[in-house]
C-alpha cells in the first residue's frame, strides 16, 4: 500500500477506535426494553409472549438464529418481519401501518427500539442460521439470486460493491458478503447506530438504503426479497461472532 494511503487508513482506524467507546445504540436498547414490556396497541398487550423462534418471550440468542422458518406463518421471517407478526397478532396493530410508517417515525421508531433491544441479547454469540427446512434453503437460494441481480440505470447489483474482497467506496471498506469473513463483517455489525446521521438503522433500513444507492425502486418493508437477502448474508456469516448493535460511520 502507498505510504500516504497507509497513514490515511491508520488515521481512519484511530477515528473509529475513538468513537467505538459509548455506542448511542444503548439509548435505543433501553427504550426497547420498556416498549417490549409495555402494553400497547388495540389489544393493550405487551410483546412478552412474542416468539422469535426460541419460544414465547425468549430473547437471548434469538437474533443469532434469524431468519428462520416459522410454522405459524408458514414462511421464513427475519427479525423485523417476525416483529411485525408479533405486533399485529399480540397487540392488534395493523401490519400495513407498520410497513407504511416512514423510517424513524411512528411504528418504525418502535421497531428501531425493539430491534436494538433484541439484537443486544445476541451480542458475542455466533450466527447460527439453519437451512434445514426446505423453505429456508429456498430463501437462501432466492437471496443469492437477488444479491447478483443487476438493474437500474447504473447496472448495480449488491455484488457490484460487495462481491469482491479489499474494495472501498471513498474511504468505506466494502465487506465481500460472498465470503464468511466478509459476511460477518456486514451481518455481524448491523443493526447499528450510524454516526453520520445520528440514527439507529435496522437491517431493514440498511438494505433499503443499499437499494436506494443502487438506484432501484423502493424495497417494500418486510418483503420477501429483504428476508431472502438477509438469509443469504446470515448463512454466509454462520459461525461468525455477532457485535450488534454496531456503531457505523
Amino acid at each position: 500500500m502507498h505510504a500516504n494511503a497507509q497513514s490515511t487508513a491508520d488515521a481512519i482506524a484511530k477515528y473509529r477506535e475513538m468513537i467505538a467507546d459509548g455506542n448511542p445504540a444503548e439509548l435505543y436498547e433501553a427504550a426497547g426494553e420498556e416498549l417490549w414490556k409495555k402494553p400497547a396497541g388495540p389489544k393493550n398487550a405487551t410483546l412478552e409472549k412474542c416468539n422469535l423462534g426460541l419460544g414465547p418471550g425468549v430473547i437471548k440468542g434469538a437474533a443469532a438464529q434469524l431468519p428462520r422458518y416459522f410454522p405459524d406463518t408458514n414462511r421464513v421471517q427475519d427479525l423485523e418481519s417476525r416483529l411485525i407478526t408479533c405486533m399485529s397478532t399480540l397487540q392488534g396493530i395493523s401490519a400495513q401501518e407498520i410497513i407504511d410508517a416512514p423510517f424513524q417515525q411512528g411504528y418504525k421508531k418502535t421497531m428501531d427500539d425493539i430491534v436494538a433491544y433484541v439484537v443486544t441479547y445476541s451480542k458475542d454469540l455466533k450466527v447460527n442460521v439453519s437451512t434445514k427446512h426446505p423453505k429456508e434453503k429456498e430463501s437462501y437460494e432466492l437471496g443469492k439470486r437477488a444479491f447478483f441481480y443487476e438493474g437500474g440505470p447504473m447496472d448495480f447489483s449488491c455484488a457490484t460493491c460487495h462481491g469482491s474482497t479489499g474494495k472501498r467506496i471513498r474511504m468505506q471498506d466494502l465487506p465481500n458478503l460472498t465470503t464468511p469473513e466478509g459476511a460477518i463483517a456486514g451481518w455481524g455489525y448491523w443493526p447499528a447506530y450510524r454516526v453520520s446521521n445520528g440514527q439507529f438503522w435496522t437491517m431493514g433500513l440498511r438494505l433499503n438504503d443499499c437499494y436506494r444507492q443502487q438506484r432501484f425502486p423502493f424495497p417494500i418493508y418486510g418483503s420477501e426479497v429483504l428476508t431472502a437477502l438477509s438469509m443469504y448474508m446470515a448463512v454466509n456469516a454462520n459461525g461468525g461472532v455477532i457485535h450488534t448493535p454496531g456503531l457505523k460511520r
Binding site: A11, Y15, R16, M18, R170, S196, N197, Q213
Partner: protein, 150 residues
C-alpha cells in the same frame, strides 16, 4: 438539583453574593455563557473568557484523530498536567467557535472526552484555565466526505 439551582440563580441577584461568600462554587454560580457561545471566531471567545491570547503549552494534551470520516461526530479528548478548573473546546471554522466548556471541581481529573460536530476541515483548540491563566493546544482535523455521497 444543581441545574434547578442554576436556573433559580439566574433570576436572583444573590448568586454573586453567595459565590463570594463561598456558599457555592464558581462553576455552579456560572450560568450558560451566551456571549461566549455566540462568539463567531476563536478571538471572540478568547475575549469573552478574558483569556487574552492564550499561550500554546505542552502541558495541554489534545487527543483527536487526524481524519474524521464524518464531521457530524468527531471524538475529542482533552487532558492536562496543570491543575485546571475549566476546560473548553473550540473549532476555528465552525459558525460559532466555542463547542463546549467543562468545569472541574477539586477531586476531579482535568480530563474530558466528548464528540463534536465540525462543519469542515479546521483547527481544533483545547483551552485550559489553571490558576486564572489560560493556555492551549491546537490540532488540525481533516473532515472527509464519506460514503457514496448520494
Amino acid at each position: 438539583m444543581n441545574l434547578q439551582r442554576r436556573e433559580v440563580l439566574k433570576y436572583t441577584a444573590v448568586f454573586g453574593l453567595m459565590a463570594s461568600a463561598g456558599l457555592i462554587s464558581s462553576a455552579q454560580a456560572e450560568e450558560w455563557n451566551k456571549a461566549a457561545f455566540e462568539g463567531k471566531t476563536i478571538e471572540d471567545v478568547f475575549s469573552v473568557f478574558g483569556a487574552g491570547s492564550p499561550d500554546k503549552s505542552s502541558a495541554v494534551i489534545l487527543n483527536v484523530p487526524e481524519i474524521a470520516e464524518n464531521g457530524a461526530v468527531v471524538p475529542v479528548s482533552i487532558s492536562t498536567t496543570l491543575k485546571a478548573q475549566q476546560l473548553a473546546i473550540l473549532v476555528e471554522k465552525n459558525p460559532n467557535a466555542l463547542v463546549a466548556q467543562f468545569f472541574i471541581p477539586t477531586g476531579t481529573e482535568p480530563f474530558v472526552t466528548t464528540r463534536i460536530k465540525m462543519a469542515q476541515t479546521s483547527n481544533v483548540y483545547a483551552l485550559v484555565k489553571a490558576d486564572g491563566k489560560w493556555s492551549m493546544a491546537a490540532k488540525e482535523i481533516k473532515v472527509t466526505l464519506g460514503g457514496c455521497g448520494g
